[in-house]
Structures are given as structure tokens and as C-alpha cells.
């Protein structure tokens, strides 16, 4: 089949080039590009069963098909699905999120649909409502004009936008990350992190779909759900700032937690793995700082190490973009690299280490098929681990065994920096 396609393209190109030597030379280069492209295509697979006409009978004509049918998805999504955020690093205005079944064999079975996300948007999935939320930015003239910041609410069933909430034009415009847009209080409030670079949090009441408050968080950043209806932010002085909201989204209490780390010398990653309300923040050097977010005020736990003394000597450190993840069994997964140095903290790594956080012990060491940059783990007793590799393709692993399953090489994404297990 592939050869037929190639010959057909050759013939087409040959016809256009006939009788012109100069043109021929251009065409030859096109042919080689076509050949290269064709070679890189995955081997075409014939359908498993090809309908065959009944011998001796003329097949009846196909029936006219209805036009305009749009598929829907069953909600909740199966627990092994993922949502992959392609931030479109080379043209930020036009990102996308693919809903994917990473365990399926063909791209037709893998891709379930997509939603749009403009201008390095941030994303979070609802758990109490069948909705997904995107904080994004638009200009009236594309790259210029009047700016509008908006939370777009997408239906999980339709993958269609069902509502918009206009925001103050100050939402944080940073590389995509999980803690810039968060849900709290059983999805009653959606919180948007703002950075101008003065920082604040916009509070949206999702019952009324209205902005109800903007809470200043001076000197602090990001949103970590805390207590029954609050959040904490991590601060430039190495402390925390915690706010609890009342039922109207107004500030019921606020408190500063004294500095407990040095942001210059012993920095934490801003990306904790949160298990049972305890946020496990990795440090650049390979420790873990647990912080209990179950109460109205964070409780700072005891530091423990991801590495043995020998591993530390070999320079093993955590690193990557979305470098860590959790599963429903309470395990923490984290990308690790050897020979770490000042500046290697976003490099990713060749291995994922899995920890029992209650014991502070490693329970598994997964050697990756390809160098990993970001990772996600799906829900359930048999979770799937999906790793964004250095070629910006998604590699799929059985999370329990660590065995490599496949690369989703037919799904075209440029920079899928953050992947989420479907909620």
C-alpha cells in the first residue's frame, strides 16, 4: 500500500515536471522529500476484516448516510484515559488538548477528541461536574489588539465550550503547569493564579459561574488546595501563605507560615505530588519536603531523601517539567537523572523512581525506553504511566510492572509538556 502511494506521487510529480530540466531538478528534490515523508509513515495496516461481495451477486448500493452527526463521549471517561496538553511552544496562540486512550493500538482508537487552549493556557479537570476548565487569553487582532482573559468551561461529553467567565487581564502567563488553576471545596470554587508580576488569586464561584473575589498573595505564587475551602501559596522568602474562604468566596482567614527553606540555596520544585492531602515537594538536590495541607494551616513535615548516599555521589537528582505524579495506591513517581548540576533541574531523566511516601522508601526503579521530560499516571488498580519523551512523543508504560508498551507516534503534538490522567 505504501509503495502504491509512493508510485502514485512519483507519477504525479513526474507529469508536472515533464520537459523542463530546471523544473526537473526542483521536482527531484520534492520527490526525495515525499519519499522521506512516506518512509517515515507507519506501515499501513489493512482493516482486520474486509467486507467481500457475495460471489455471483452484484452488491446492493450503499445507503445514504446522515450528514452532521457529531460524536459524544461517555462520561466519566475510562480510568486509563489521559488528557495531553500541547502548549504549541512555537506558536503559543494555538494550543490544544487531546483526549486519548493510551492503551489502544491505532490512532483511530487512541484519539477521542480535542479542545482548544489559547496562549499558553492553564487547564484543570472537574471531578464534581462533568466539566473541564481552561484559563486562556485572546487578543482581538490575534497577536495584538484588546486583550481578553477568560475561563472557558468545556463539556466532557461534547468537548464543546459551554460557558465563559471573563477574568481580569492578569492571569499568569507561564509555561503550563498544574498549580496555576485549581479547584477547591468539592469544585465549588475555581481559583486562577494571576501574575503581573504582582500576584493574586481570582476566585470563581462555579455554581453561579461568576468571579466573586480576588485575593492578593503578596510575594507568593501558585495554588495548593488546603483544608476544607482554602489554598496555600509558596513564597519568595521560603514560607507559605494560606487563605481559607467562606461560602461566598470571601477571605475567612489568612496566615503566613514562617520560612522553612532557602529559595536560593535549597530550592523546592513548585510541583508537589499530593497524596491524601499531603504535598510532597521534591527539592532540586533530591530531598522530599512533605507539607500536610489537610488542615486550615499547612503543617511542615520532616525532610527525607530520594537517594542513597551512593546515588547522591553519582549525582542522581529529580528533574523535568511535570516531573512527578501519584497513583491511587498512594505511590509517588518521579523522573530522575544522574550527574545533576546547577541548571539540570528541568532536563528530565532516563529513569522514573517510584516511592512509598508513607515509608519514604523506593519501591520501584523504571528504566525508560526514551529519555523522559514529563509524566502522568492514570487512575485505577492497574494504572498506565505516560511519559512525554525528549522527542515530544508520548511513551506508554504499564505503571505496576514498569514495562514499556508503545509510543503514541501517530498522534501529532509539538510540545505536550503536561499530561493528565483523566478524571
Amino acid at each position: 500500500m505504501k509503495r502504491q502511494l509512493f508510485l502514485a506521487l512519483m507519477a504525479l510529480v513526474g507529469l508536472t515536471a515533464c520537459g523542463d530540466n530546471a523544473e526537473q531538478s526542483k521536482v527531484d528534490s520534492s520527490v526525495s522529500e515525499v519519499a522521506a515523508t512516506t518512509e517515515s509513515l507507519k506501515e499501513f495496516k489493512e482493516p482486520a476484516s474486509v467486507p467481500v461481495a457475495t460471489p455471483g451477486l452484484t452488491p446492493a448500493p450503499l445507503k445514504a448516510e446522515p450528514i452532521g452527526i457529531i460524536k459524544k463521549l461517555a462520561v466519566p471517561y475510562p480510568e486509563n484515559w489521559i488528557v495531553a496538553h500541547d502548549a504549541a511552544f512555537f506558536h503559543f496562540l494555538e494550543g490544544k488538548l487531546f483526549v486519548i486512550d493510551p492503551t489502544a493500538e491505532t490512532v483511530a482508537e487512541q484519539v477521542k477528541g480535542q479542545i482548544s487552549i489559547s496562549f499558553i493556557g492553564q487547564f484543570v479537570q472537574g471531578t464534581a461536574r462533568p466539566e473541564m476548565y481552561v484559563a486562556e487569553t485572546f487578543y482581538t487582532r490575534g497577536t495584538r489588539g484588546t486583550r481578553t482573559d477568560v475561563v472557558t468551561i468545556w463539556s466532557k461529553e461534547d468537548l464543546a465550550p459551554i460557558a465563559e467567565i471573563i477574568l481580569p487581564t492578569k492571569r499568569s502567563n507561564t509555561m503550563p503547569q498544574r498549580y496555576a488553576l485549581q479547584l477547591i471545596n468539592n469544585d465549588k470554587f475555581l481559583l486562577v493564579f494571576n501574575l503581573t508580576p504582582a500576584t493574586s488569586v481570582t476566585v470563581i464561584d462555579l455554581d453561579s459561574r461568576e468571579v466573586v473575589n480576588e485575593v492578593p498573595i503578596p510575594g507568593c505564587s501558585l495554588i495548593y488546595p488546603t483544608g476544607p475551602s482554602g489554598f496555600s501559596s509558596i513564597c519568595s522568602n521560603g514560607g507559605f501563605y494560606t487563605v481559607q474562604l467562606d461560602q461566598k468566596g470571601q477571605v475567612a482567614s489568612k496566615e503566613r507560615i514562617a520560612p522553612f527553606f532557602d529559595t536560593d540555596k535549597t530550592p523546592l520544585f513548585e510541583k508537589p505530588a499530593i497524596i491524601n492531602g499531603i504535598a510532597y515537594f521534591p527539592t532540586f538536590s533530591g530531598n522530599v519536603q512533605p507539607i500536610d495541607l489537610n488542615g486550615t494551616v499547612p503543617a511542615i513535615g520532616e525532610l527525607w531523601s530520594l537517594t542513597s548516599d551512593d546515588e547522591k555521589k553519582q549525582g542522581w537528582r529529580p528533574g523535568g517539567w511535570q516531573l512527578n505524579e501519584t497513583d491511587d495506591q498512594g505511590r509517588m513517581y518521579i523522573l530522575m537523572h544522574p550527574e545533576g548540576y546547577n541548571g539540570s533541574h528541568k532536563d528530565g531523566g532516563p529513569e522514573v523512581w517510584v516511592f512509598d511516601v508513607a515509608k519514604g522508601q523506593r519501591v520501584q526503579r523504571i528504566k525508560l525506553e526514551n529519555w523522559g521530560v514529563s509524566l502522568a499516571v492514570t487512575h485505577g488498580a492497574n494504572p498506565t504511566m505516560v511519559v512525554t519523551n525528549a522527542n515530544m512523543l508520548l511513551d506508554v508504560y504499564d505503571a505496576n510492572s514498569g514495562s514499556f508498551q508503545q509510543t503514541l507516534s501517530d498522534i501529532v503534538m509539538e510540545t505536550p509538556f503536561v499530561v493528565y490522567g483523566a478524571e
Binding site: F92, S236, G343, M392
Partner: protein, 172 residues
């Protein structure tokens, strides 16, 4: 391992294949050696009243390993119609930004470098360069290169990044 090298490499592969110059890919590969690409010269400190020679700014601003880019993350304006300290035509320079401290291998001094972004047009896409020396997460915005620093400009659309010498940092 610099994964963004691979992203940049993939995006520039077509250009490289058609070009007789392989400078871009060579430059990206150079990221792996980073500052080791420059010999560390003996530092000649100017004593009080000592006569100073002409300043030296070594390296190629179109290459990621250029000394000023030690904490940069983005598309080099030198490859986008600007230079290491000017924006491309028709863009707007962000007045606020993050800073790095980079060592000039020619004079041994550490300089404060301001990475002002150029804004108002879509991503340039050329010469992607990510180096994270002393980069910190966004809870330290002054040292964070994950933020789109097109702040305080008419449009927040990010085009490319400069690396401007602000002054000499503490001597070491």
C-alpha cells in the same frame, strides 16, 4: 541531556537540511558543553588607577553557549531580526524581566544580565535556547525563566529574548 535541544533540532531540521551551514545544529549541540566551550582566562583585575584595556565580549550571540545566555529560555533575538541587546523591528521590549548572573570568560567578571523579552508578534521560533543556571521556580519571579515576561507591554505575545548587560555583579 537537553530535551529542548531536540525540540529545537526537530523544528530546525528542515532548514539545516537545505543549508550548507550547519551552524545552528552545531550550536545547539554546543549546549551540552556550555561554559566549558570557553577557556577560562586568568582574571586581570584592575587595581586602583590601573589602566584598563578595551572591554571584551567573546562568543557568537547566535549560539546558545554565548556566555550571556546562562539563564535564558526562549528564542534568541539575534536569530529573529534583533541582536543580543536589541529587539527585532516592530516589536516592543518588555520593561520588566528576570535576571541572571553570568560569567564573561574573557575578563572573568560576573555580570548581571537582564533577559528582556521582545513582544507583540508570534513566537520567532529560531534558535531556541534553554539554559537554567540558577533558574528558580516562579515563586522567585526575579529568577524564573518559565514566565512569559511580556508584561507591561501593549501585547503579551512573546517573540524572542534578549540578554542585556546591566552591570558587574559581585566579584568572586
Amino acid at each position: 541531556m537537553k530535551w529542548l535541544d531536540k525540540v529545537a533540532e526537530a523544528s530546525s531540521r528542515k532548514v539545516a537540511q537545505r543549508s550548507s551551514r550547519r551552524g545552528l545544529l552545531k550550536g545547539l549541540g554546543g549546549l551540552l558543553v556550555g561554559s566549558a566551550a570557553f577557556p577560562l582566562l586568568p582574571v586581570a583585575r584592575a587595581a586602583e588607577g590601573e589602566k584598563l584595556g578595551a572591554p571584551v565580549d567573546p562568543g557568537d550571540p547566535m549560539q546558545c553557549e554565548y556566555w550571556r545566555y546562562c539563564a535564558i529560555d526562549g528564542f534568541l533575538c539575534s536569530c529573529c531580526g534583533g541582536t543580543q541587546n536589541t529587539c527585532p523591528p516592530g516589536t516592543e521590549m518588555s520593561p520588566i524581566t528576570w535576571i541572571g548572573t553570568c560569567r564573561n570568560p574573557a575578563d572573568g567578571r560576573n555580570y548581571i544580565i537582564s533577559y528582556n523579552d521582545c513582544c507583540g508578534k508570534t513566537s520567532c521560533g529560531n534558535c531556541l535556547c534553554t539554559r537554567n543556571e540558577s533558574d528558580r521556580p516562579i515563586y522567585r519571579p526575579d529568577k524564573a525563566n518559565d514566565i512569559n515576561w511580556c508584561l507591561g507591554t501593549k501585547s503579551a505575545t512573546y517573540n524572542c529574548s534578549t540578554a542585556i548587560v546591566v552591570g558587574v555583579a559581585l566579584d568572586k
